[in-house]
């Protein structure tokens, strides 16, 4: 136990991976199928969730620093370390990940028929990589986990995906690749700057926070460029308008589990990246680009909602709704105040509840009817009353009805944005109207009206397993809507520290990448 207490984060990262590897060795029957694979994976994900609850239990809400820290040398010559740690923000993102995983696995039970073992292996491996990315405090280590997430995701879409899965996977890759590589270049630049300023390489994030990057007040200054390299990688992940076009294709082609993880956790990686890296590392550049990102966030909200409105495919509609909802996250972060930042983090969690719920629901009728066209449905509330209740609850969360989680996030973000810029706040606010339009219109066309299509008459309502999949999400919608303080109380301190670190202090201007302030050079 003592070992577990001091290595809890490592355990969380490597336990699902180890469990997944063992799962590969499970016996298969003559047809190559392994019926035990899914139960094995479910057990593993539940154990991981239980493990993560230990984090919640012993997390100190008032702790001034990262907690559960683990630090070991890895590649000393390059200053690379194995450095893990958790604050009040990553705590909730890790819990979101471990909370969603059993749901995703249980939700896949009837959807996956081919190569089950490999499928569940990839899901658990993905979980390991995602947790790793959230707890890494070394940029190199972060980058490793960041890239490692792509591989299982790529295979999940590419093997178990829909008709155009190769195209979608390719597009997903191209986008993410460009961002990642630029980020890598920026990381190496930062690391070498650390050498210049402090005399040694270090990829330790806490060391890099001390590095002074010149400029940030003009477009071509070093800090601006490095910031943009990071921001591009994260903005693609979010995805921020106009870098969002990979998302609808990836979602539509991905199997349900892929969409759930993509929307539930992977997109959060973008917002988290801004929080943990881009903001504290480059405060001046953040300030310089604040208007641009506020504008992009507001555009994303409205643009995503408008385009969602005209989608004929339910899954694509939900995908575009993600573009809209994640626009709020960007807005909250770039509002640069406590209310906005708290709202942004909360919105990430909310979106990690409601959008997975919607994707699971879409998957459930897709399994029954093998179509996602809105026009193929209509009136199915009559034959699927429980399904209708579940869909309406998730819709309410998505349209941010007070009492549900969505409201708390949107309210705080819009209020925080309003404090920074009334114009942007008002424009983004129209999202509350358009959000209601596309969601309710979809609900109306799918659920209400007469049962026109004969094939829909035979639709079976939710099974016990499906109810079990949806129940935790439904509970979360209301708990997070009524008792947000429960969550805020653990993240307050971390958000205050984030804002403090991201507060811009003027740094001497520099013209080129090599022109660094003289003071900092003294360390050499």
């Amino acid at each position: 136990m003592a070992w577990l207490e001091s290595n809890l984060l490592s355990a969380l990262v490597f336990f699902p991976l180890a469990w997944a590897l063992v799962g590969l060795a499970l016996p298969t029957d003559s047809s190559g199928k392994s019926s035990s694979g899914k139960y094995w994976a479910l057990t593993g994900s539940l154990l991981t969730f239980a493990l993560s609850l230990l984090l919640y239990g012993s997390f100190d809400a008032n702790g001034a620093d990262f907690q559960f820290k683990e630090l070991a040398e890895w590649i000393p010559s390059l200053g690379v370390s194995y450095h893990l740690g958790l604050d009040g923000i990553s705590l909730w993102l890790v819990l979101l990940t471990t909370f969603l995983m059993p749901i995703v696995i249980l939700g896949s039970f009837s959807a996956v028929e081919s190569r089950e073992k490999e499928y569940y292996f990839l899901l658990l491996a993905l979980e390991a990589a995602m947790i790793g990315a959230f707890v890494a405090l070394d940029v190199f280590l972060f980058y490793v986990f960041w890239e490692a997430m792509l591989i299982p995701m790529y295979f999940l879409v590419g093997i178990w995906g829909g008709k155009d899965r190769i195209y979608a996977a390719m597009k997903f890759f191209l986008y993410t690749l460009v961002g990642s590589l630029l980020m890598l270049v920026a990381i190496f630049y930062l690391v070498s700057l650390h050498k210049t300023q402090f005399g040694a390489f270090s990829t330790n994030l806490l060391d890099l926070y001390k590095v002074q990057v010149a400029g940030g007040d003009t477009f071509w200054s070093p800090q601006s460029l490095v910031f943009l390299a990071f921001a591009l990688a994260f903005a693609i992940k979010v995805p921020l308008f106009p870098l969002h076009t990979w998302l609808p294709d990836a979602h539509v082609q991905a199997p349900t589990a892929g969409s759930v993880i993509l929307a539930g956790v992977l997109l959060k990686m973008g917002g988290y990246g801004f929080l943990r890296f881009a903001f504290p590392l480059f405060p001046q550049a953040v300030q310089f680009y604040q208007p641009m990102f506020l504008a992009l966030g507001a555009i994303a909200i409205v643009y995503g909602a408008w385009v969602a409105m005209v989608q004929p495919d339910i899954k694509k509609l939900v995908a575009y709704s993600s573009v809209s909802h994640m626009g709020y996250v960007i807005l909250g972060l770039f509002a640069m105040n406590t209310i906005g930042a708290t709202g942004a983090v909360y919105q990430m969690l909310n979106h990690g509840i409601s959008t997975p719920g919607l994707f699971l629901l879409v998957g459930m009728i897709y399994e029954r009817r093998h179509t996602r066209e809105i026009s193929d449905y209509g009136g199915i509330a009559k034959v699927m009353p429980l399904y209708a209740i579940a869909l309406i609850i998730m819709t309410l969360s998505s349209v941010a009805l007070p009492g549900t989680n969505g409201f708390v996030g949107e309210f705080l973000i819009l209020l925080g944005t309003w404090q920074t810029s009334r114009l942007v706040g008002a424009i983004a606010g129209t999202g509350v109207i358009f959000g209601a339009i596309y969601m309710l219109w979809m609900v109306q066309r799918v659920m209400f009206g007469p049962l026109k299509n004969e094939e829909n008459r035979k639709l079976k309502d939710l099974t016990g397993r499906e109810l079990l999949v949806l129940a935790p999400l439904t509970v979360a919608v209301f708990v997070m809507g009524v008792a947000p303080n429960f969550f805020f109380s653990k993240m307050d301190t971390s958000i205050a520290r984030f804002l403090e670190k991201s507060r811009a202090t003027p740094v001497a201007a520099a013209k080129t990448l090599n022109d660094q302030p003289a003071l900092a050079r003294q360390g050499e």
């Binding site: 792509l150 590419g158 996977a169 390719m170 597009k171 890759f173 191209l174 690749l177 460009v178 590589l181 890598l184 270049v185 190496f188 630049y189 070498s192 106009p242 076009t245 609808p248 408008w306 385009v307 409105m309 005209v310 406590t338 209310i339 708290t342 709202g343 009353p385 429980l386 209740i389 309410l396 009805l401 007070p402 009492g403 409201f407 309210f411 705080l412 819009l414 209020l415 309003w418 706040g425 606010g429 129209t430 509350v432 109207i433 209601a436 339009i437 309710l440 219109w441 109306q444 659920m447 209400f448 009206g449 007469p450 049962l451 309502d461 009524v482 008792a483 947000p484 303080n485 307050d492």
Partner: protein, 663 residues
């Protein structure tokens, strides 16, 4: 104890909701009849009424300036300087609303047991009805703007669910959606107004806000007050159906009639008046906002009344009448007579709920017929309904002594004599009163008098329409299946109670001896009269409006006693009648100006911008790299290789940079 008021209906909702979802909705299970769910729901809301009454009595025992009780349940949101408590507060204003909501609410719940007896899913219906009461009570009891907003959107949700209750009819589902979305337009105004309050006064709590406004008042520019007041008023335009956002309310009549009575007449639609009265200290410093509110109210009152002239559906007439009466209430608030607005909220709750429930009784008795031109002579068939309906009719027409007379007259007098008032506002209000008397008499006469214009047996056509009724159940327990009949006691008794209230409810606000005005003083300060107005004018104007009302009634009675003559009049005024019948084409204008263009633009953005511009750019990049890859013979089958290759290139470049930097 305050928390019990919303808690009871919440528990009722949970019981009925869980029961419905677990044991009635699943396939193969049978729905409960309306009795058990209805009794559960009625007990829940009646319990709230009892608690509301106890609190009212308790308030009366307190000294005037200390007449409020607060209960802080828990902290809802605490972020930085923002702190929102889940806290309830009952004071002289909210206690009146809780009494109306729970009192009229109880009557409507009981009535619904009868009205929904043929329905397929009464469990769901009563769950929604209780949920609505919960949200509505949160709205009036919330001690801060966010809690009010919680209730505000909550009632909107229930309105959506109940309008589209018979969702198999696409039109009804659409009407529910329309209500929600139009309200959302208003809610955006509410939200932004709330934000502006927070950034100006640093609090969202009502009592703290009042203190802050009093302390900072002079240093805050009037323009800020105006902006806040107008933004919040946009919210009222949505919820309380004022021009230009009133369009959802007539469509909302798609819901079951008890819903129209409870939500779309007596309670929810008056939320706007509640909010404006609650925040009167924000409104009064801005003359512009007050004027704006008065003008919008007066115009809505007038405009909606014109539409009511030409509607054939009994519920549609009542719906436009509601829009019109809500306009009166805002007219009152706009001229500073918030108390008169609240007074009219109360009397209107009585007589309009009665009108709707009476109409429901007629519709129920006529087997879902709603066209007043297919009724007639119902006095003979439904004597009890006829009698109570008569009281409501006279009350809304402003016949002296009945409730509507007192509240309407006070509004008209204040529209004239208040320092914010003017003869023009009075004239619009008085003209509306004449029109109201006219169209209500038309409705009453066509429904209950004259020759029956229906076949007393059969009603095959009407039957075909009511698909939401379980065909097998229909008529069960009715001795005279197919015939027009009086409603059962469970429906008639609530009507009779409301009839008494409609008759006597005005006595709480007799001019110059108004209990209500005095009661509300701690929250709604006495309004100043224009010094140049001669006080004796009050009696002159009262006489004028009564005379106008009688004129309208007599005229309508005359015209509609001879339907041929009425038809010829209609033919003579055909173009105008058509415009009125089509509600001034406002829906069509919205469709052309907002809905279709946005859809077109969205299609364009998706198909042209997303797919053609952005994607082609990215894929172009992909093609270049794939081409390079093929040339280099590194790539064999798929994009993993591209990826690996690029990763390698990236590593080489960056490592090169570092080594270069090292050297």
């Amino acid at each position: 104890m305050i928390a019990l008021i919303p808690l009871f209906p919440l528990v009722g909702f949970l019981i009925n909701g869980v029961w419905y979802a677990a044991a009635q909705a699943p396939e193969g299970r049978k729905a409960a009849g309306s009795t058990a769910p209805g009794v559960i729901a009625s007990i829940a809301i009646f319990s709230s009424f009892v608690v509301s009454l106890l609190l009212f009595i308790q308030l009366q025992g307190l000294p005037e300036e200390a007449r409020f009780i607060e209960q802080n349940l828990f902290s809802w949101m605490k972020v930085g300087d923002l702190s929102v408590d889940m806290s309830l507060r009952v004071d002289v204003l909210s206690t009146l609303f809780t009494l109306v909501i729970t009192g009229v609410g109880t009557l409507i719940h009981v009535y619904s047991i009868g009205y929904m007896s043929h329905d397929a899913t009464p469990g769901k219906f009563f769950a929604y009805l209780n949920l609505f009461c919960f949200a509505m009570l949160m709205l009036v009891l919330g001690s801060s703007l966010p809690i009010l907003f919680l209730g505000w959107e909550g009632v909107g949700l229930c309105s959506y669910l109940l309008i589209g209750y018979w969702y198999e009819d696409e039109e009804k589902a659409k009407a529910g959606k329309k209500a929600f979305i139009v309200n959302r337009v208003g809610d955006l105004g509410f939200l932004l107004g709330m934000f502006l309050i927070y950034t100006t006064f640093k609090t969202l709590d009502f009592s703290a806000l009042k203190v802050a406004v009093e302390a900072m008042g002079p240093s805050v520019p009037e323009a800020t007050f105006t902006a806040i007041a107008l933004l919040l008023f946009v919210g009222c335009m949505g919820k309380s159906a004022q021009i230009p956002l009133y369009v959802w309310l007539p469509d909302a009549m798609a819901g079951p009639t008890p819903v129209s009575a409870l939500i779309h007449a007596a309670t929810m639609v008056t939320s706007g008046i509640y909010m404006v009265s609650r925040l009167n200290f924000i409104y009064t410093p801005s003359h512009t906002a007050m004027q704006f509110m008065a003008v919008v109210g007066a115009l809505t009152a007038f405009f909606a009344a014109t539409i009511a002239f030409a509607q054939r559906d009994i519920k549609k007439v009542l719906a436009y009448s509601t829009v019109s009466q809500l306009g009166y209430m805002f007219l009152a608030c706009g001229v500073g007579a918030f108390g008169a607005g609240v007074f009219h909220v109360i009397t209107h709750a009585f007589f309009k709920a009665l009108l709707f429930l009476g109409a429901g009784s007629v519709i129920h008795g006529m087997h879902e017929e709603q066209d007043i031109f297919k009724m007639g002579g119902l006095k003979k068939y439904m004597p009890k309904t006829w009698l109570v309906f008569a009281i409501a009719w006279l009350a809304i027409c402003g016949v002296p002594g009945l409730s509507g007379f007192f509240s309407k007259d006070e509004i008209l007098w204040m529209a004239f004599a208040s320092e914010h008032g003017s003869p023009v506002l009075w004239a619009l209000g008085a003209g509306t009163a004449v029109m109201t008397a006219f169209y209500m008499t038309r409705l009453y006469r066509l429904t209950f008098y004259g020759e029956p214009r229906f076949k007393s047996e059969g009603h095959s056509k009407a039957h075909g329409k009511d698909h939401h009724h379980d065909a097998a159940d229909h008529g069960h327990g009715h001795g005279h299946h197919g015939g027009v009949h009086e409603s059962p006691a469970v429906m008639v008794v609530p009507l009779q109670v409301l009839a008494v209230l409609s008759a006597l409810g005005g006595l709480i606000g007799i001019p110059h001896a108004s209990w209500l005005e005095h009661w509300l003083e701690p929250v709604l300060p006495h309004h100043a009269l224009n010094a140049s107005v001669n006080p004796s004018m009050e009696w002159v104007l009262m006489g004028l409006s009564v005379a106008g009302g009688v004129f309208g009634m007599v005229l309508a009675w005359k015209i509609y006693s001879d339907l041929k003559y009425a038809e010829s009049l209609k033919a003579k005024w055909a173009p105008l009648h058509k415009v009125l019948e089509n509600k001034w084409y406002v829906d069509e204008i919205y469709e052309a100006v907002f809905i279709r263009p946005i859809q077109k633009i969205s299609e364009f953005l998706w198909k042209s911008f997303d797919v053609k511009v952005i994607d082609q750019f990215v894929l172009g990049f992909g093609r270049v790299s794939a081409w390079t890859g093929q040339r280099a013979r590194v790539l064999q089958t798929g994009s993993t290789q591209v990826y690996a290759f690029m990763l390698l290139v990236g590593l080489v470049i960056t490592l090169g940079y570092i080594i270069y930097g090292l050297a």
